[in-house]
Symmetry: D2
Subunit: 435 residues, 4 copies
């Protein structure tokens, strides 16, 4: 069954001049950049859901992809076939990591018992596939949003039984992630939000959500999981409003429940733009607040107001993002997971490779550009110069005065600060030199 | 000079059937609703800036309004004339409160010395006008965004001298607010944000901003000001990104600098919608997080992506907002300030009255509707029923279990929670019964 | 099987004070307003797709509704059951009309032959159901967007065979509409657009689309169908860009292919707002351009950038829309079709009634308000006065001069036109008197 | 006075490796690409308004730029100084063209007589400056939106006197453009739209606007002007809605008034994105409809909902735009005008050069990339192959059949068209090879 990609060759680095459409032109995993190999910097992962579970359906039409494992019910055999094809893909793509939701990798379950049996079956298989393929788990997660029981949320559901069902899934998924050597555990609260305030007790839901997250953190420590717990912000969709709106909102949420040193963010480019921010803004914010964790690589469509989850294809955008990632210290346990899907018309097996190969190369080129920018030093120098006053005499003085003291100083010195150019166009041109 | 509104009669409550376009049909200030008069509930204020300072200009064209006090330079005489006309307006409108920025009420100043002299002159006059008119100050603030020196921000400026200039203004404005019996002091960080990350040290700017706010809170206590310090969130405009993006972001910011019990939010309807939220969402969020303070009443245009600051004219929107305000406990020191401007084509003096009279009545009708909804009880009952499980046996059990305990309970009981209707359409219809 | 709604009583008009949640408070079908009954004015229809075909799924989760006819394959028996339940619904709701896509009402077909057989079977049944229920067909249409074969469009598909398949469906659906006495035939080009310009020949696609529409118009006349051909604009979703972006775009398209006197628009509220317009703007534009046809009633969410298709619940919005509909002359063959779906959590049969009953009453109240506004006359008077110059002496002169003549007149008279207030706030207050 | 830029050297092409921040790295005006020099292809222009008239103000703050010619009233001397500085700039930048609104280049006028006198004075001077500098006029236009008399529009004003005042300005500006050898005449209807439908007679305004444009076209022919009349679409801002929403809307407008062969569009990148389209979409649409004219080069901010008019800095965006421009046949009379402004903080004279030099190089690199893509041929080949069916046997057949004929053919052949991959990811990767 791993023959699904029989026609696709192993993807390798061939350099910028390669005319091979299925080769890396920039992602040279062993190339050392700023002291680490590109593989160590970027920690690429492919995902199960968009690439192996989604059938190519959208709100206005059915699945177009016609994958063999989708032809009948999603039973144990179909799930096993999907897992094998996926690992074949991870190997051919030569990404070191993969990611999954519990329901992505297992047979459809009708109840708690089946859920646990089928998931355990899947985890056993994944463990073997990891061993045989040399691939590792970047992160695992539990899907608390697709089944109808989660229509009103998981941890924020008005029904405590749904909360408990979710707790069962998260416990098992967290333990499986631990067993599989996963480096992180992610929570995306797809339906942790509301459709209408008219039927919503926001305070209770936030408190339930905060407690749920606290329990997860507590359990992580109990079982000795040393990976990072990550929350993935998104402003809305499917819900009208999602509680984890953006990085700044998640930060406040973590502070409220005393979790800011335990949990970090998994930032997705398309979620960033849906929330009214640039991708690099979200990374810079996480860096400034000390909660930068991992990346879900994709892009949105600035003209379309929903999560299009397209493959990243802008070196310009990824260069700016990589600058902020490097400034935030780079990844520790995190990495670049492709939470991206080929377009619904891209129905061929090879399209999955075009999407990922292109995306990987765009990110890799972004890293090379960002490293060159940082090594060049002019960008940093401009910033240092702009804030120089704060390390000067006047800046030093006001650091030790209260409001009245500073105000009095302004009066005494009769200060008349003059605006200085921010030099934005010059810096934008400078960036363009490195693309 | 107070003759500017000579043709406009005193505005009074005349009841729903009045055909007088310049009368209140719903705002009956002495009417008791849910135990308080409407005046006590709503605490209306009019503002200086849009109503008496703005000349009717926009980015594509000059001022259209042709006010007498705008015909020459904004010197002490012009500023005094403006203050008198404004208080005549506040009285004719019969709103109990007004609001101002320092530069709104004073002559143009070229330097620190002039700033302090002209502002002091203005405050003396305001004190007299308050006494003679019986109007009170809802809040004061300092403008740290209009003068070119603030092009790169006030408290977040790369230049510490600008920070100090801002500190001088804020100290004086806070003390003036205290002296004038102001009930709150507001900070809107119009340029506390960035134009491009390329020249921005976000962490430093956030820390400078946090320290500034801490100094303001400290000074408030030092001078014995018992009013509330308020931050007004806005996502962007004029900056590309503003640090006080929305209520949830401000909450995280306050938590970061230990100010969550000292500072509350002043929520503006149009800022809410610009940040991707409904007006009522922002109020509900502030209520849930315990930082609800005051309201800047206006509305945006859902098709136009900038701050249109139109007068509120949707009873539907204000009813939902008033429900959340009442649920958040109503105002303590806050109130409804009209941060709204008549359209640039509405050039007549009477248009200022049409805008405010209509806006006041829309808010007042919203209060009456919200009170009726709450007294009716069906909306609350639906919510209570929806979350009933959390006060039941199962809910009680899981409140005392850890993640594994809850998961084990789910397994033991082999729970199979069934989705229940959220009844959204029914509740939306219910609201419509009260409009 | 029509027992699905056994617990739901017949919906009737009971007046504004009725406490019955399943009664009309404003829709009194026999009440005469501006010379016609409300039934004649509003011509309400319910639709098959959202109400009887959609299972409650979204992009992030499966169906929640659990309707009996969805439990097995969509074969002839299931389709028949659905049709019967639907007509029971139409009767209980007492709407005079209904609407359908071909695939909504028939069994799933694997090929051309099956499509024609199952569709014919459905049409026979619909004809009987219409007769027994007294319900009529507002419009029919063919679905050229859900099946994978239409992934790249129907009439704009790169593959002429898909175009031909679509032509087969449209021919049959148009003839069925004619046979069933349908008053209109609609084309919504859900995938008539593009995902990326990189693989799109826009000119060819537009020309193919224009020819397709011309053929439909020609066939309509050939078979003697006297109903109206309607195009439904939408800016995007599912496609990145849809050719029928908005009413103004459709007008240009019709002019390009000489169809502006043959085809009109079916305006949907949510499509209007997605395209950056208000609902009433789209109606006013269609009225000004002479192509107003029919309405798909629903609403979007101003904070969510996709088609939420919620039930209309704003009397304010519907009043403004009804003013424009009445100004455009009201409906001839068109009507108000509820292209609206209950929320995914609204899983009970009764929720379908709450949605429709509330929506019908909101539209009905909008009509009553709009009629009162028009009878009042002040709104029209303000407009007449604003443009009075054009019927005066100066306006008359320039109507007969060329550019140089008008310019010379301006010079000779040394004109100095003064701005006059647009009175927007006053007019907005006036509207609020009628809500 | 032309000494304002004394410190700035002449800008020259120095090649990709130049480290000179004020040199062109890609814009080599004499380099031949696809048979024409880059200068002939791109026809760059700089503009008066953003670069020499705007003082650095925004809605929330005053001017920051402190230009010498802004220090006193805008009288004849100040205007002359501005014109000289501007031409010095055009020469140093070495762009062949410039653009202006009447009021940009003249002293402030209080009435018709002054307007004509000061404008004539300016045109005389411009004629001399053109001769001495060798710069040419890409287009002229009249400003019918900044003066308060135009608050309710120019050609769509409710007051016919305002219409006449506008006609006077346009007549003079068109004749001046003719005299100055301008290659186009542009109309941007900044306030040709509405603030509220409540006071708007849309049909009358559209008809007045259509007649105005017809008169302009008639006058153009009368005076022998052989340049192109251009309309610049924008969806809104300053108005709530602008009639020239986008290219497709303008096309319909031109068709309505029979002007589609007389008038073309001047497409601005930021206006495109504000209207919900990509820049390249608007160009492709104009190309498909045969009305492509000229370009206003800039960019918007995808997160900010107003016209930011930033300098273009994305080679990726400009490459896609240039592909569409070349496919539309390239410019005839049009060109690339920089309708872009440096940021309000970019207060130094040199920032004007950084903005333009960077923008010119980004456009130039876009041209080089687009030419390489076209010469490569793979992109075109993929498109040709995708639509091959239309030139095949089946496509040929249906070109000659009516709807029933095509439908019958589908039935007879029992066609079963299979979806084919659109190859989007592959093509996106292909583009990235050329950046």
């Amino acid at each position: 069954m791993a023959d699904f990609f029989a026609d696709i060759p192993q993807i390798r680095y061939e350099g910028p001049d390669s005319e091979n459409e299925l080769a890396y032109r920039f992602y040279d995993k062993n190339r050392v950049v700023l002291g680490k190999t590109m593989e160590e910097h970027l920690r690429f992962a492919a995902c199960f859901w968009h690439t192996f579970c989604w059938p190519g359906s959208d709100v206005f039409g059915g699945g177009t992809f016609n994958r063999p494992w989708h032809r009948g019910p999603n039973d144990s055999a179909a799930a096993a076939e999907k897992r094998e094809v996926a690992f074949d893909f991870f190997q051919k793509l030569d990404v070191p990591f993969y990611c999954f939701h519990d329901v992505d990798v297992m047979a459809d379950a009708a109840n708690v018992t089946e859920h646990r049996r089928y998931f355990a079956e899947a985890v056993d298989h994944l463990e073997k596939l990891q061993a045989s393929s040399g691939r590792k788990l970047l992160w695992g997660t539990a899907n608390l949003f697709s089944h109808p029981r989660f229509a009103a949320g998981g941890a924020t559901n008005p029904d405590p039984e749904v909360y408990a069902f979710g707790a069962m899934q998260v416990r098992d998924a967290l333990e499986a992630t631990h067993r599989l050597g996963g480096q992180n555990y992610v929570l995306w609260g797809g339906r942790e939000g509301y459709e209408t305030l008219l039927n919503t007790d926001m305070k209770r839901e936030l408190d339930n959500f905060g407690r749920f997250l606290s329990l997860v953190v507590e359990h992580k420590h109990k079982i000795g999981f040393t990976g990072t717990i990550l929350i993935e912000p998104k402003p809305h969709e499917p819900t009208k409003h999602q509680y984890d709106f953006d990085t700044a909102t998640v930060y406040g949420f973590l502070k409220r429940y005393g979790l800011e040193n335990e949990v970090r963010v998994n930032i997705e480019a398309n979620h960033a733009t849906l929330s009214g921010h640039t991708f690099e803004h979200e990374i810079a914010t996480a860096g400034a607040l000390g909660i930068f964790g991992s990346i879900d690589a994709n892009r949105g469509d600035p003209q379309n107001g929903w999560d299009t989850d397209q493959f990243p294809n802008s070196v310009e955008e990824l260069t700016l993002a990589m600058v902020e990632i490097l400034r935030a210290g780079g990844f520790t346990t995190g990495g670049f997971n492709f939470d991206a899907k080929v377009r619904r018309q891209s129905i061929d097996a090879i399209d999955l490779f075009h999407g990922h190969v292109g995306g990987i190369d765009v990110v890799a080129k972004g890293l090379l550009n960002a490293a060159a920018l940082i090594e060049d030093g002019r960008l940093d120098a401009a910033k240092t110069e702009r804030y120089a006053g704060w390390t000067g005499e006047f800046g030093g003085k006001i650091a030790n005065l209260d409001l009245a003291g500073i105000a009095d100083l302004a009066v005494e010195q009769n200060i008349d600060p003059q605006p200085r150019s921010g030099g934005q166009e010059r810096l934008e041109n400078l960036i363009n030199r490195f693309l």
